[in-house]
Structure formats: structure tokens, C-alpha cells
Symmetry: C2
Subunit: 178 residues, 2 copies
């Protein structure tokens, strides 16, 4: 069965800093039309960073959409024309002051394909160590670094502080590395 | 450190069927203000459904934001005041014509906490079997049912057909159940 929806019209609703919003009118396989609300995002990376003490590195930050603090793996948006592995190395430096010998690509995935095109590239930072050349940090970004063992991770999941898809995927990969 | 951002103003940009968009003006911990673009979503469920032949049940569908077909685990939006386990049973029936003795809750997570409040509840369908009472299907929803073994799943991941966060999390849980 051909499932394709043909785009008939695109209405640009919003151009933001992080997201844009389009409403598309599409033709369904049965010839009828429907509306699709689509969030456009430039894509992002997430990094599994494990210390020599076998702890995972997390960022504590405020998440406005949730109205709460979370613990998430280091992550950030891909700049235009930036290779995702470079983004991963840069964000790890900026957010955690760690660097790695290399970034091993594990997987990529769309975070919410029903309404958004955000694609997330997941890397494993190989041979983690303190940075020698500190990249400048955003003065309006408020972060705290937290290192947790696997049992401590389980506690934070049950408390709801660790609560997002990229971080859960990272932890599941980490478990499989044990 | 107190990381909280205090909401000073909310501007409603868009009220849609699937998403709403707000732009919030927030006060940062250092007293400065910033804008936050926030997608509001009613939340959703995803279901790990494993057949008696040890295959995972997937839905093939067109995803407008990606402009491609995907294979995803059965999933759907939570209706107002609906218990997520009821949503899970309903969506499994509507999308796959399977039902389960019960829905075991595995985890919940925010799909993209940087810009969206969508919360996903993940269930494992216990004792999968064909439905006895078929719930009505949406005539404008075009789906195909696909059952895959774990090696077949790995092929679809490498081809990029299996490519979203809830489905990847489901597969990682399934691997740990083997």
C-alpha cells in the first residue's frame, strides 16, 4: 500500500529561535485532504560520557516546558553545516569541561516524529578526560554538573528527575555496556 | 544553586489539533529575562507488543514531519481525562487488532524537554492475543501492521525505517527481556 501524503500547501505560522511551526495541507492516499502541524528543528546531539569511576555525567538544568529541574545527558543543538560529531565534542566541553579522544556514533533518532522533525544523534565519548582548552560558555545558561553511578541513576529515574527520551536511551545503552 | 526560571509573561501563538505553541518570557536566576518557545501536547502512550512467535508488532505509516514512511511501535494520544493504560489498550486494539490481559507500565519520559511538554507512557502488553471486540478505526488513518524478529528489527534500524525515540526505547527494553 502506498502511504505517502502529498504536500499541497504550506502555511508558515511561526519562525522562532529554537523551533519553527508549519501547517501543511496534505493529500491522503484516498484522495481526501488533511492538515498536519509540523515543528521544524535544526537537530541535536546527545553524549554518553562515563568517568573513570564508572559514573555517567549529567547536566542539571531548568526545563521551561516542564516547569521543573531535570538531569539529562550533555546535549545541544547542531549549528548550521556543523558535523554532529563536532557538535558533540563542543557541547561536552562547554557543558561539562570534559573532552574525549573520539566520539563513537551509536544511533540517531527522531524524538517525536508525529509532530516534529527534530533528529538526535547519540554519541559515546571515548576516553573521557578534563579539557585542556575551555570553550566559552553561554552566560545565560545555568547548569550544574552531576556524576551518578548506575544505582544512583535508578533512584533519579524513580524520582522523575531523569525523565527524557535521549537520557533514557543513553542509560539503556550504558546498561548494555556493563 | 537555584536554577528556576520564573514565568513573567505567556504569549499564545497557535492553538492546533495536535500541538499548541506558547512563547514565555522568563526571569533567569541572574535576574535577566529570556524567551522560551514551548510546544504543548496532551501526552501519548506507546506499547511493546510481542507475539507468541517472539516478534515485535510495528505500525508502518507516513510521517509528514519527516516526509517518509516509518515503522513504529503502536502509539497514540491520550484523550482528556483518560488513564494512559486505557489509551494503551485502546490504541493497541485500533491499530493492531491485538489485545492483552493487562498493560504493564514500564516507564514514562518526555520526548523533547528542551521545547515540548509531550509525555510518553510506555507499556508492555502482557499475553497478546487477537481482539474479540474490534474498536472503530479512523477512516483517514492509513496504517500497515508489520511483525519483526529481533534480527529483522536490526535491519530496519540500519535502513532508517525504525528511527524514533519511543520505538528505540521499546526495542532496548525488549532486548533486555530476551
Amino acid at each position: 500500500m502506498n502511504l505517502e501524503e502529498k504536500v499541497k500547501k504550506v502555511e508558515h505560522i511561526f519562525d522562532g529561535v529554537v523551533v519553527d511551526l508549519d501547517v501543511e495541507t496534505v493529500e491522503l492516499p484516498n484522495g481526501k485532504t488533511a492538515k498536519r502541524e509540523i515543528i521544524r528543528h535544526q537537530g541535536a546531539v546527545a553524549v554518553i560520557a562515563i568517568t573513570s569511576e564508572n559514573k555517567m555525567v549529567f547536566i542539571r538544568q531548568w526545563r521551561a516546558p516542564l516547569g521543573q529541574e531535570t538531569l539529562e545527558v550533555p546535549a545541544g543543538k547542531i549549528e548550521p553545516n556543523e558535523d554532529p560529531s563536532i557538535t558533540a565534542m563542543r557541547e561536552l566541553n562547554e557543558e561539562t569541561r570534559f573532552e574525549a579522544d573520539k566520539m563513537e556514533f551509536l544511533n540517531s533518532f527522531y524524538t517525536s516524529p508525529g509532530f516534529a522533525d527534530e533528529k538526535m544523534y547519540l554519541y559515546h565519548a571515548i576516553n573521557l578526560k578534563p579539557v585542556t582548552n575551555k570553550l566559552p560558555q553561554d552566560e545565560d545558561e545555568f547548569l550544574e554538573l552531576v556524576e551518578l553511578s548506575l544505582p544512583e541513576v535508578e533512584v533519579e529515574i524513580s524520582k522523575g528527575t531523569i525523565c527524557d527520551s535521549k537520557t533514557l536511551i543513553s542509560i539503556l545503552y550504558w546498561k548494555m555496556m556493563q
